[in-house]
Symmetry: C2
Subunit: 338 residues, 2 copies
């Protein structure tokens, strides 16, 4: 009845697949060995070649002659599945990693910040933009700054597949990152669905704690069609993606300053900031803590899904340089004037 856990060999194979998954070009065994070393894994070039023969046989990688190897879709699938047991509590770990990796400085207007990546069929991208337009206009997003990438290009750690266009939206974890760099610890509690009534936040109607899930809550809510972002834009009533955070009460003034600074460079996302130990949106807050509701960065994309457009979302998909972001309105102009 019992299956043995992944052997050492399987772990090494996975680490090689992981390196390949992060590259948009084929990689040779020398490069793979070097990349593994950067991740703290010592494997000789010869050992890498040995494991690559196994991954070829299993159909996880494809040998492309002198250029090296690429990950196949089967290999990507295997990688996703195999990493799941390590992903319990993974979403929280991922958020904290991205916050740590944030180097974006709102005063200097440079550095890297965390993004979400959404993949849309090329033929429907324009249509998706037209739906998202109203959501960006209503401000139900973290930022109007986005990035667009074509097939083969990379957004964060995601390589855009054939036939797709990738749209990067700013992830609300940017707030965590900027606060963390100022020495303010911020506690990511849960991803939820927030009910809006008369254009005001009312209450959370669904909650998934970050420390108990291997799946991103926002991705799940979008898939399960639990949002009505378009309705909120039109009528002021409906349900949007929102996240809950907590900060130490004495840091509140500093946090307000940072929020103002971020606003100046076009990054919003803080929807409600509570007072000490005050429940917000019906969520109790502990002693000497302040609750904070952040808007989900994927709200515009949720609206596109509501409109029947198929979108694959990878929340918290990695980091992007602030300088690579452009205004959504520029993107809209470009695609609607074509």
């Amino acid at each position: 009845m019992f299956q043995e856990t992944s052997s050492d060999a399987e772990r090494k194979i996975l680490s090689i697949l992981k390196v390949l998954s992060e590259s948009s070009k084929p990689l040779g065994s020398i490069t793979i060995a070097r990349e593994l070393k950067r991740h703290g894994i010592s494997l000789s070039e010869r050992a890498v070649r040995y494991y690559l023969r196994i991954t070829d046989e299993r159909g996880y990688t494809q040998f492309l002659g002198r250029n090296g190897r690429m990950l196949t879709s089967k290999g990507l699938e295997e990688l996703k599945l195999a990493l799941a047991p390590e992903q319990v509590g993974f979403i929280l770990d991922k958020l904290e990693l991205l916050a740590f990796q944030t180097t974006f400085d709102p005063q200097k207007r440079r550095g890297e910040l965390p993004i979400n990546t959404s993949l849309v069929d090329q033929e429907r991208f324009k249509e998706a933009l037209l739906v998202m337009k109203d959501v960006f206009k209503a401000g139900i997003c973290v930022s109007e700054l986005v990035a667009v990438a074509s097939e083969g290009e990379k957004l964060g750690s995601v390589v855009i597949p054939k036939g797709k266009i990738g749209l990067a939206t700013v992830c609300s974890v940017v707030i965590n990152g900027v606060l963390l760099k100022s020495g303010i610890p911020i506690d990511s509690k849960f991803g939820g669905v927030l009910e809006i009534k008369n254009s005001k936040p009312k209450r959370f109607v669904a909650i998934i704690n970050y420390d108990g899930t291997s799946l991103d809550p926002s991705e799940q809510y979008i898939r399960a069609r639990m949002t009505s972002v378009r309705k909120v834009v039109k009528t002021g009533n409906g349900k949007i993606l929102a996240n809950f955070r907590e900060i130490p009460a004495p840091s509140r003034t500093m946090v307000e300053e940072k929020i103002a600074m971020l606003k100046e460079v076009g990054i919003n996302g803080v929807y409600v900031l509570g007072n000490t130990s005050e429940a917000i949106c019906q969520i109790p807050v502990r002693l000497n803590r302040v609750g904070m509701v952040l808007l989900g960065g994927l709200n515009p994309v949720a609206a596109a899904v509501e409109a029947g457009i198929m979108v694959e979302n990878i929340a918290e998909s990695g980091m992007l340089d602030f300088e690579k972001l452009v205004s959504f309105w520029e993107v809209l102009n470009k695609y609607t004037n074509d």
Copy 2:
């Protein structure tokens, strides 16, 4: 920016809606006051009438003359939304409540056990049965015992809506209940998606902890189309719904006895039983504990959804008397010979 929490009046209104939601017939204010008392809420008949006028105005209830009032679909929606903040960790609480309420005794073959309720359009019910047939045959279920109810009838705490047929499947929490009644504490850890390879359990590829979610994990996985139950039946490879539990190591022998007893009355569901502190399906198990993988009771229904049949699932939907269960094969015969 801040909304006040539900006032006392709102809580009373919700408790009245809750009583109405649990009835398949209209209720008068006397009955409602009596039911509230059973739940530990003291409200005079006059007070109930006062609040019912408010719920009528808001469209949550419908006045049906002398027979009393029924909950409207708007009222049901309100009830669901309003209860969400109290539902953080709610799934775990719900599981423990149902385990406590289980009175089913496998030796005496009587008592109540927890069920899931699935709602299928009347026109597609036969088609759904034909898909589920293979899954029941392959044993990817908790039990072949089911119950069927028509519109207006009740399964657990769910009243079957117009145009639908309700199918109750035995919920894996029945194992919790039977063990608990024997004095064995059982810890419900998470609901997951289990990868099956060569007809054997391999590893969990998705995990949501019961104590950190307001949404049932199985309902979510079915909605997000993360299962491939039909593929497992056909090829021995694919993904099914499964849950993870833990028991104290010294109780293992007693647990085995109970499992054998349940098997005799047609209730299975224990898919893997580990050894002391042994990881199963790549999930580590604590010191002096034994891990246990249970099959999801909704696996047959997941297969129907995979086949494109719309099904609304309410996992852990309440209790049903063992005597009301019938064999799936009887139901299949009845509907396919019509």
